[in-house]
């Protein structure tokens, strides 16, 4: 394998596939290396596909991509032990093609994306783990794989090796990942007849529903739960900051959190009878703007989860991954065309394109969000309880007059957070979201 390529892409997730596809389509020689048995076999996501990022790469993807359901309804639930207060947004606008987003099953979707990468002309090698980058001084010149004679060379190496970002860390491009900058999520896929899902969620064939949850289900930790409808299965999961798991005084395991969520009286009937066929765990980089490392250097660029490109507030990741992958490939294409080498200077157009795209603009907008939620866990504990108590009180008809109930609700809020606390919380949220 002592060949030389224009580009080596490490990893075959959304960012790696976007990079390999874009570079190969432009006529560059591309080697893509994936450690799984097939592309997708190591990859975990909720999963929602946002159409726009993929449209920019494969405009007609809807013709043959394996898509589960397009989303027509988004529910947001704030839960306590027995109840939830929620908002639902459902619109027939989301039933007009081209659809905006879909549920997908990553093992199938990634396999499909990879078939497009191969069609575009890239060489894709699976069941091969990249051990480290090969350096010539301060220039990345290739990678070493766990195969006999596994040294391969390239002008540019695109690191799409996922959230653990092993290769860049070993090469010293960035430091250790902090537990406060990643969320640990676990999920299950539960199979049931298509008609059951459609009846339970009040949807027609191909229509889908998303439920995002927060509150008591995370046991005081900063995190969220989710439920997505696939064609004939439901994906259900919960994730919290890894630092919160580590410091949780109850020493709650992720799978215990998941089981409790499945048993919640608002969730249990939706998943009843489902046959569990897989249990997954995955880290999500949620450090945001300040946690994004240096994204390029001499002969290398970093994309997707490996570079921490996730907008945790909006639950967006795979679209940032695809966009960063595409932009990195475009930088490699431009550097090749310019013929002036592949040092950091020649790859700087990647950083510039990132800054000008929605990727860095959105991360910048929410730059203070991780800190605000880290230091104020009342948003995940006290408020969900107060809100549910308030709703229960106002809606229960029990002979107590509404004015008295109102007074009691205000007094509960004041007791729990004090007036200055309430005002401070509102200000913190406004600052973090604006």
């Amino acid at each position: 394998m002592s060949e030389k390529f224009d580009v080596i892409v490490v990893g075959a997730g959304p960012s790696g596939n976007a990079a390999a596809y874009t570079a190969a389509k432009a006529g560059l020689s591309v080697l893509q290396i994936e450690r799984g048995e097939y592309p997708g076999s190591k990859n975990v996501q909720g999963a929602i596909l946002y159409a726009n990022a993929l449209e920019q790469i494969i405009p007609d993807f809807r013709e043959d991509a394996p898509l589960e359901r397009h989303i027509i309804e988004q529910r947001m639930w704030v839960l306590d032990e027995e109840s939830f207060v929620g908002t639902h947004f459902r619109s027939d606008d989301y039933n007009k093609p081209p659809y905006n987003r879909y549920t997908i099953i990553r093992a199938q979707f990634d396999k499909w994306f990879s078939s497009k990468v191969k069609e575009a002309g890239a060489l894709v090698i699976c069941e091969t783990t990249v051990e480290c980058l090969l350096m010539d001084g301060d220039q990345v010149v290739g990678v070493r794989c766990d195969r006999q004679g596994g040294e391969v060379f390239a002008d540019v190496v695109i690191l799409a090796d996922g959230v653990n970002s092993t290769l860049a860390r070993k090469a010293g491009f960035h430091g250790e990942i902090q537990a406060g900058n990643v969320a640990l999520a676990v999920k299950e896929i539960l199979f049931m007849p298509q008609e059951t899902i459609e009846a339970r969620f009040n949807i027609k064939e191909e229509e889908g529903v998303v439920i995002e949850m927060f509150g008591k289900i995370t046991d005081g930790m900063m995190g969220t739960g989710f439920l997505y409808t696939n064609k004939d299965s439901i994906t259900l999961g919960v994730g919290c900051m890894l630092s919160d798991f580590k410091e949780n005084p109850n020493r709650t395991s992720p799978y215990t959190l998941l089981e409790k969520m499945k048993a919640h009286p608002s969730v249990a009937p939706l998943i009843a009878g489902g046959e569990m066929k897989e249990y997954c765990a995955h880290l999500i980089p949620e450090g945001g703007f300040y946690a994004v490392p240096k994204v390029h250097g001499n002969g290398w660029m970093i994309v997707g989860d490996s570079g921490g490109f996730v907008n945790a507030v909006h639950r967006e990741g795979s679209n940032l991954a695809m966009t960063t992958g595409r932009l990195a490939a475009e930088a490699a294409i431009a550097a090749k065309a310019a013929g002036k080498g592949f040092k950091a200077k020649q790859l700087a157009s990647y950083k510039q394109a990132l800054d000008e795209s929605f990727v860095m603009k959105d991360l910048h907008k929410y730059r203070d969000m991780p800190q605000v939620f880290h230091q104020n866990n009342q948003f995940f504990t006290t408020y969900p309880e107060l809100i549910n108590q308030a709703a229960r009180s106002m809606i229960t008809v029990d002979g107590i007059d509404k004015k008295t109930k109102e007074k009691e609700i205000f007094s509960n809020f004041r007791k729990s957070r004090s007036l200055t606390g309430l005002a401070g919380d509102a200000l913190k949220l406004w600052r973090a979201f604006r």
């Binding site: 048995e37 890894l242 765990a281």
Partner: protein, 99 residues
């Protein structure tokens, strides 16, 4: 949070693995450190596949067969850096059917 008995082995049983026998991809560098220096032993409850077990004698043991390759154990072991963590050899480890 009230206690719920969860059998994580039952969950892992649904998964597909190709175990690299005799070549675990994660190792505890110095088992004595876990026993004597680590107070929290948080890996024993944070690991989503329950690969780390707190033994009655104070030791922590590791069996990587059910590993989901998330990377949490390495990141939370910051004080002692006692987890040696690599991805499994190509083609080995967890093989997600759905992901």
């Amino acid at each position: 949070m009230s206690t719920v008995a969860v059998n994580v082995e039952e969950k892992l049983f649904q998964n597909r693995y190709k175990v690299d026998h005799g070549r675990p991809h994660i190792k505890i560098r110095q088992p004595d450190l876990c026993r004597n220096e680590c107070k929290s032993q948080s890996c024993t409850y944070v690991c989503p596949a329950s690969c780390y077990k707190a033994e009655g004698n104070g030791a922590v043991t590791l069996i990587t067969d059910g590993c989901l390759e998330c990377g949490s154990c390495r990141i939370i072991c910051t004080e002692l850096s006692n987890v040696e963590w690599e991805y499994p050899r190509g083609g080995h480890g967890i093989l997600f059917k759905f992901g």
